[in-house]
Amino acid sequence: MVDVKSAIARLGLGGIPTQPAERQIEYLAWFRFPVTWTYVTGSAHEAGSEVALKPMLASSALTLAPAVLAPLSPYPPAPSASAGEGSRSAGSTARWEMMVPKMVRPPAKSVANLNSTAAVPALAASAPETAHKAASLIEPASPALAMPAAASAPSTFAPSFSLHSPEDQFVAHYWPQIVFAVIAIVSIGCLTWGLSGPSPSTGSAASSSPHAASWSHPSVAASGRSMTMYEPSRGESDYRIEFSWVPDSSGVGWVFRSRDENNYYAARLSLQQRGSSGALVAEHFSVLGGAESAHSRRTIPLANNAGMVRVHMDATGPAFRLFLENNPADNWSDARLTSGALGFYDDGDHLPKVLALSFTFIKNQVSRTSVVSLP
């Protein structure tokens, strides 16, 4: 045996005990093989702050797939999206899917017991007793908005919006093709419907009603704000709105939990250009009794101006969470409006330019997703 393999430090045993024989050997080089795990937090370090707002890469490589298309059925969706597509009414702009959430999230049990006292006194504070504190993720811009959220224990059912089954991975992988196929089918369907006129059966089927039946335009508010509401969402409370959008200065604004044109929540994204680079401004506000609150704004760096951004916002109880490219962008809470319709708004009279729009509604632990297009 060659004498270079003098000692191997054992993990967990600290330094190498110096043996008398070793003292006589002169070492000139050291090969160390530590166990490392930068891979675990690698992306977070690359991004600077994973928990915080990450600089946005406005690439078209979206991480979330559009909703799986499936025929109107109480059964789980067919594994193949294209199979479901083939049996769909060509004139439909709203496709519904009933699906039991496929992924069971871990129960809201406490994380690993650290058995230790935090070094930071503030952190040693007692654990929260109620979930309403959790809702205060970001304080509303106005004190008027700082209402405690309704207590809803996080250990109870939390709607899962995520799609992670193998078929969903398929969808996630091929989403651009699916989106284009959907757009093409919808376009052909609309064209066909427009040329032939509505058939009696189409007119009586709510789920395959044309655009006009799905969207409404409440009277323009005194402020000049126009709204386009997705009527099937009235009465819904927990949902996700999801769409792709190419950032522009005119922005995209949407409303949620809307009871009428005087009572709703709203959020908006817009591009703020500065030189060759840009940033997205995310804002949210409420309108209650016709009175508009202060706008709470956040700026999200946008690394690349050219490209589509995938946006989704979850409304779950009093909690609202906005994601850009699947990264948390903002979250806030407001418990005053518990249900109401989804839609878009504009302070001019223009509909925003969004693609791959879908709504997912959660009720009684069952979600249904509607892929829709703006009128």
Binding site: Y27, F33, V35, A122, L123
Partner: protein, 288 residues
């Protein structure tokens, strides 16, 4: 009573000015706009903390987030950011606690769970870290959780299980260099030279500048008394990392393989011979 929130209504609010400056790409000026005495809203402190964090002022950012969490321990965003700052400062215990608070509110945030698991590994609570990685559920965290589990198992000395997980990860992500590096470390620990060689070669195929792979192949050659090959790998490793010629400053635990003067001289001699042969071949090839 929330001091921050009450103060927001009465104090002049430089928040908007700072936001505007930040949006204009002037983060330092934005930070200066927020560096004024007084009592301000939580959002004011959060923005200041974010700007400090982005500017690399991690300690200051930690203090700022700490001010928010001291006022409102349930401020999840501030706790998460505080955790990040503390982990950057290698204050693992406190960082873990901050991440734990976040997860008590939102147990589905795998990014935070991975950060917590990282802290637990640093704190040598490998079982707890393993549990933490096991609780990750999202597709986005799958690879990193798989890797983390493998690391935790390796550190728990459950080497066979760890190796299987590393191989699973490598099937998903063949470019995961760190998995191969840890497999080399694992093979070194049990001194299975065939595996050290196998993983070192795989790693070198991925990254021809991997010092871990070069060191692995060098020691394999040394063990097989192939000093010519060992000298090649050794000097390539030395070119990339001159630190191998110095006693390790870090006292962190690692498998260590030491090169004695006797072996070093053998490597040098092999190198000289190789140079001589190369030079002679080159001279011989020259036209007269």
């Amino acid at each position: 009573m929330n001091r921050f929130r009450n103060a927001a209504a009465s104090a002049p609010d430089p928040l908007q000015a700072a936001l505007a400056l930040r949006a204009q790409g002037r983060p330092q000026e934005a930070l200066e706009a927020l560096s004024i005495p007084g009592e301000f809203s939580a959002d004011f402190h959060i923005l200041r903390g974010d700007l400090q964090f982005e500017a690399g002022q991690i300690e200051q950012a930690a203090e700022t987030y700490l001010a928010v969490t001291a006022e409102d321990p349930d401020h999840v965003y501030a706790q998460g950011q505080l955790g990040l700052c503390l982990s950057r400062l290698k204050l693992w215990e406190a960082a873990a606690h901050a991440f734990e608070v976040v997860l008590q509110f939102d147990p589905h945030r795998d990014e935070v769970r991975l950060q917590l698991a990282d802290c637990l590994l640093q704190l040598r609570r490998f079982e707890a870290a393993l549990t933490c990685f096991d609780e990750c559920w999202s597709e986005g965290s799958r690879r990193r959780a798989l890797f983390g589990k493998a690391v935790a198992l390796q550190l728990l000395r459950r080497l066979d299980e760890a190796e299987k997980l590393y191989e699973r990860l490598l099937a998903i992500d063949p470019a995961a260099e760190e998995a191969l590096a840890n497999l080399i470390a694992m093979s070194m620990e049990v001194f299975e030279l065939a595996r050290v060689q196998k993983y070192s070669q795989r790693l070198l195929e991925i990254n021809s500048h991997s010092t871990v792979a070069l060191k692995g192949l060098a020691l394999i050659s040394i063990e097989r008394l192939d000093y010519a090959a060992a000298a090649r790998y050794f000097h390539r490793a030395l070119e990339l990392d001159s630190e191998i010629m110095h006693p390790p400053a870090e006292q962190n635990e690692a498998i260590e393989y030491r090169i004695s003067r006797k072996i070093f001289d053998s490597l040098e001699e092999s190198r000289r011979q190789l140079k001589f042969k190369t030079a002679r071949a080159s001279t011989g090839a020259q036209p007269r």
